[in-house]
């Protein structure tokens, strides 16, 4: 379970016409790790997650997801990952949550079968056919996390997952993380929003460099 999932060596990244954001990053993320990634606004946390998901490509250096660069990996390599971006709208497929559910069902037909989904007993299930444009920011965020209980055997890469959630959903998310066995997760969040007991490693990203805090 502790096999390396991501390996970064001397990774540099800069957006076009901008100064370098990430410099010489070295990091190994294993399947069993439970990582909290913190840092000030604009320090590059979300960018790092986008690099891990293959949405962005490093300017130089090595980045591997299993055995290949994430951007070159086949869809199958992502079956063991759940990736959630900072903006909830960026994670939801289609026009209504049902389209998103059906996309998940294509990847995992039995896991997302109707009886299993109804078994979640979440009030949000009544809004499966409500267009995203009519859902609040909090509801959109909650929809991006709604399927996590069905994906506990995946490694989660979550960018500020509790932003916009009401206290009860925040608490449920914390409980879900606490109950999650390996594979673990890498969560981007500002320190203090989630209890430290949920993590085995705390990383801080400042001035383009990663620091292991504990």
């Amino acid at each position: 379970m502790n096999a390396p999932l991501f390996q970064l060596r001397d990774l540099d990244f800069a957006y076009p016409s901008h100064p370098p954001l990430l410099r010489k990053l070295c990091l190994t993320v294993c399947m069993g790790d439970r990582i909290l990634l913190t840092g000030t606004n604009g320090s590059g946390k979300s960018t790092l997650l986008d690099l891990l998901a293959g949405i962005l490509k490093p300017s130089s250096g090595m980045l591997l997801l299993l055995d290949k660069a994430p951007a070159e990996q086949s869809p199958e390599a992502f079956l063991d990952l759940v990736f959630r971006r900072q903006k909830a709208e960026d994670d939801l497929f289609g026009l209504v949550p049902r389209h998103d559910l059906e996309a998940w069902r294509l990847a995992w037909p039995e896991r997302f079968s109707e009886p299993v989904v109804q078994g979640l007993k979440d009030p949000l299930l009544d809004k499966l056919d409500t267009p995203y444009s009519r859902l609040s920011a909090g509801e959109l965020r909650a929809f991006t996390l709604l399927w996590l209980p069905l994906l506990v055997d995946k490694f989660w890469l979550l960018d500020e997952p509790t932003a916009g959630l009401d206290p009860s959903r925040k608490q449920r998310f914390g409980e879900l993380c606490a109950a999650k066995e390996a594979p673990g997760y890498l969560i981007v969040s500002h320190s203090g929003l989630l209890p430290n007991s949920l993590f085995t490693r705390v990383l801080s990203l400042e001035n383009g460099a990663l620091k292991e805090l504990g």
Binding site: I55, P75, E76, F93, G94, A103, L106, A107
Partner: protein, 240 residues
């Protein structure tokens, strides 16, 4: 974006794409393509690798256009006569013309895409045209790139879920494409609505004289570009 006034840049882009449609001579079209590339390069840099990649993407389309024109055009000078097939020399020429036109329109549109909203605003203000028109034109210019971006984003969402479109059955694949296209169209409509509201909230269409943060005057380089375009236009008119 450059030392050129945005209005001159827009007019030059329109000049290239208009001439591309009206000029019938392939040599002039080739010259126009070259000028268009120089124009684009002088504004945003000579990104040769990008140009080669962009032209490369056009090759299948260009080949298809030329093949169809050779086969189906009125024969003109027959390239190779046959009982069932008469390959057309005129068709080849038309195919080359259409391909050159496509490339010119594409590269001049690429110049417009590099202009920011502020650039469009400056250009429309110079013509004393209302800001509503500026917003509409800007939105339309960016419609196709925005739609392309959204399509890629939706395909990436599926990729990140481990869904390999190539391995899906036709029915599932069609359903996904249908959802993606609906999402993209709806996104473009709602996006324009949101942007229009955001502009309204910032005093867009309010009464009184328009103010602006950045102003720009026409310079010598604008005059030089205008003279070059006028000169080339005269030359084309004389020679054709």
């Amino acid at each position: 974006m450059s030392s050129q006034h945005p209005l001159v840049v827009i007019l030059a882009a329109l000049w290239f794409s208009s001439l591309a449609i009206f000029i019938p001579d392939p040599i002039w079209l080739a010259v126009l393509l070259l000028l268009c590339l120089l124009f684009r390069g002088s504004l945003v840099g000579f990104e040769l690798k990008l140009w080669v990649r962009q032209i490369g993407k056009f090759i299948p389309l260009i080949a298809l256009v030329i093949i169809f024109q050779i086969i189906f055009s009125d024969p003109g000078i027959s390239l190779k006569g046959g009982h069932y097939l008469d390959l057309s020399g005129a068709g080849f020429r038309t195919g080359v013309n259409v391909s050159l036109r496509l490339l010119i329109v594409f590269f001049s549109a690429q110049v417009l895409l590099r202009l920011s909203y502020e650039d469009f605003d400056l250009a429309f203000r110079a013509l004393r045209l209302p800001e509503e028109l500026c917003f509409m034109v800007f939105y339309v210019v960016h419609l196709i790139p925005a739609a392309t971006g959204q399509i890629k984003h939706n395909l990436r969402l599926l990729h990140l879920r481990g869904i390999d479109l190539n391995k899906l059955r036709w029915k599932a694949k069609l359903q996904l494409y249908q959802r993606i296209s609906l999402t993209v169209i709806a996104g473009l409509f709602s996006g324009s609505d949101i942007q229009a509201t955001a502009l309204d909230l910032r005093g867009f269409r309010s009464s009184g004289p328009r103010s602006c943060l950045h102003t720009r005057s026409f310079g010598l380089s604008d005059l030089a570009l205008t003279l070059v375009l006028a000169g080339v236009t005269s030359l084309i008119i004389i020679t054709i």
